[in-house]
Symmetry: C3
Subunit: 334 residues, 3 copies
């Protein structure tokens, strides 16, 4: 039955994983890609159709042509970067996920509020540069892919860097956040509105240039945090119950704060773990993150619960498939 | 036939891997978990039964109730932390492994003796702080999970830190060990008393907070070594023969030093590799280590020898299954 | 039909992967190993035959004995180290790959020329120490496994280290190369002359001692770059098209510069990625690299294109199998 549906996403981020997963669950697949990347997406046999555009602002035109097909769009981490938040909200094609979550994800004040009210530990944020306890990291609102982060460890550098940062962030607002000294761990969740169960699909850490090379260089270099890849991790089992609880708290609170549907599908808590084994959540991503690309054939976590290879991309398609079978697509589309 | 047996472990460390492996080999599974973690272990369909307790000191009472069932207990790295060494030794339930090894594993003098007599290179240990060549690392006896380690690079810091360390380690004895400058590699072995063959199951490195973040921070931070996860590695093939030989030497020597049964089942050599490609073994763990949790579906090493997914947890269950079939349980239980 | 052929390699580097892959594709396998490592290779059931020698200079004698068998030799990264470039060229056994590529791979001037003419960005090289912009890395021609690299960040150190380096590199020539500050990523390609398609098989980063430990040590240590292992990575999807293009450019240019057959089979571009998401290629390896040993059961990349576990070693055997079936062995052997 799901043969009648086409799973669609934009060509970037985790499109390959999403479309491979959709294909494995029996869906037709379609990628909307920049013309210059059509030849790239043609390499993959699980992509049934490619629609090209010159720039992503042409998306609304593409959308019109797709309206007569049984389309379900899977958003990923580049949707907001490419279409803007408004572009996402205006999309008329059936969209996997809850668009209301976008307002809470992309407003740092609302996001912090959501996490804190859910009982999650987050780093302190400083409004006044005179209150700052060092080290801190300066981040622009809506910074993507780790670009435009600055680590500062003293007042002099802070005062010096704020103006150049404000310039670099092109007038966007920024926050001054406590820098937590600990190791990063990104936890990939999937919450099913059909089974009402939360799953941990996998975990990773980002591979960031140049900061992940600093430890290899015996002289001083200013760190940059541009994400160019990911590497796999597992978490100590005694900390795993808390990892699940954090995910459940965030989902639960989203239903109170956002709307009754709340957060569902894939999401990620980006944590820093300190030596007292405490999780600090520095960010929530309310959709599939690129770290899941490591696990096309499943992860140590999905391998615990599935007797078949289960990526997050495939898990999304599985959810849609079950919703179609149970006639509950309304629960997972927006 | 193995359907009649229940594989049991404590809820922590590598319990999920052990019980998933047991389930995959056709055993019934039971986890003994803190009451507050029952809901966590309920998430996993391969766990047939959960017995709750308020604290692990209640274990002897649980044990009495389990005596009439066909139980086999699989110890893991948290057994000594939770039950104490005496608690492990007093256990009357059939226990996979040789309990006599515990005395050699948890006494640093005996452990060092064992490794050195086996021909393994270990870091120097200093009895007198005036003899110390820097850098050194101070470790308490029985430190678990990397907590309570101090790296010291000069005499002044050593003299200053020893008292605060002695306090932090709460009167436990400590050692001053040569700090080997090189990269860590943890080798996961399995020795079968049935086939008399040693296998390398997988390899990892620990993910330690905050020390594994230091390289990302351009200012000075004191290192901590608290293990919160693991990441996968493979070793250069030209060094693999030596990795096997080290494992075999340790097993062989254990039969001379400990008793005729010696070390068997899963164990781990925790190595540091220096630029001259020399292995220094900083520790032996005589049971399953948490780094194996990365390999629920097998590792590049188990994939060389098994045509099916083979975690260390599953390998243990396989050994028990074969022992049952061959009526040789006495060779692997204590 | 491929049952009649034996896949042969030298016992080191990626021999296990190559022979396991050959076995999985239905070939007989043979390893030529040092006598002291025969017991090691005997551990692996997918190796049908082991031929021992005391030292690799005995290889020509072995070769004579093998001439009457249907042998195909798969070279790997240790072939030049063990047999010398001349030893490789003189080999009369059927050899998978194009030996003409050796001249371009092992001459740093020719290699740099090849890459630059292919439109690949490479680090600057300095002929005159007075022109140097720091940091730079000094590398000897033909340095293997990362041994004999020196990182230098100022003129004084450069002047001091050059003589000691020249001594350490035993009269071999050396280059002074711009040190690119960024994260390493090694891309494993396979180009098929049969399908004329380029595949990305997997990616890794090297695990080097002691440089990959420096970030864990809060005092100054001189870096060494000796490769002792590998860890897995995936690349940001938006950079993947460029990764494919780089591979295709290198293959295409090889047909113009080297000969009509050009580069084929497995090869690796060793890249450094800077914060502006630019790839610098610091080296090309024109054969299977050891980083592929992580992926005995496939990688996130091979999992996208194959519905079965596909290592690079197995991919080589698959290519040979197809060539046998299509009577095109001449296209892939030298």
């Amino acid at each position: 039955m799901n043969k009648q549906y086409r799973i669609v996403t934009l060509g970037s981020h985790s499109a390959l994983q999403i479309l491979k997963g959709a294909h494995d669950e029996g869906f037709k697949t379609l990628v909307i890609a920049l013309n210059k990347q059509i030849s790239f997406y043609k390499r993959f046999p699980f992509i049934d159709e490619i629609v090209g555009l010159n720039a992503f602002f042409e998306f609304p035109e593409i959308e019109k042509k797709l309206l007569d097909k049984n389309i379900i769009v899977i958003p990923h981490g580049s949707f907001v970067a490419y279409l803007g938040m408004e572009g996402n909200k205006k999309m008329t094609l059936p969209y996997f996920g809850n668009k209301k979550v976008l307002d809470f994800e992309f407003d740092r004040v609302k996001q912090g509020d959501w996490l804190k009210k859910a009982g999650i530990t987050t780093p302190k944020e400083y409004k006044n540069i005179n209150d700052v306890e060092f080290p801190v990291i300066i981040k622009s609102f809506g910074a993507a892919g780790g670009k435009g982060y600055f680590l500062v460890n003293n007042h002099k550098d802070l005062v010096e860097k704020i103006p150049s940062f404000a310039k670099a962030s092109e007038g966007k607002k920024y926050i001054i956040q406590q820098y937590i000294v600990g190791v990063p761990l990104y936890i990939h969740y999937f919450y099913s509105p059909l089974t009402k169960a939360l799953e941990i699909m996998s975990m990773d850490r980002r591979y960031e240039t140049n900061v992940d090379a600093l430890g290899r260089i015996p002289f001083d270099v200013d760190p940059n945090y541009v994400v160019v890849g990911n590497s796999p991790l597992v978490l100590r089992e005694s900390m795993l119950p808390e990892a699940y609880e954090m995910g459940e708290k965030v989902v639960k609170k989203s239903r109170e704060l956002i709307n009754s549907q709340g957060l569902f599908g894939p999401f990620c808590l980006e944590t820093i773990i300190t030596p007292d084994q405490k999780f600090y959540v520095i960010e929530i991503s309310a959709r599939i993150v690129a770290g899941t690309n490591l696990f096309i054939q499943g992860s140590p976590y999905s391998d615990l619960t599935y007797n078949e290879p289960m990526s997050t991309g495939r898990r999304i398609a599985r959810e849609i498939k079950i919703a179609i079978e149970e006639n509950k697509l309304n629960l997972i589309l927006d």
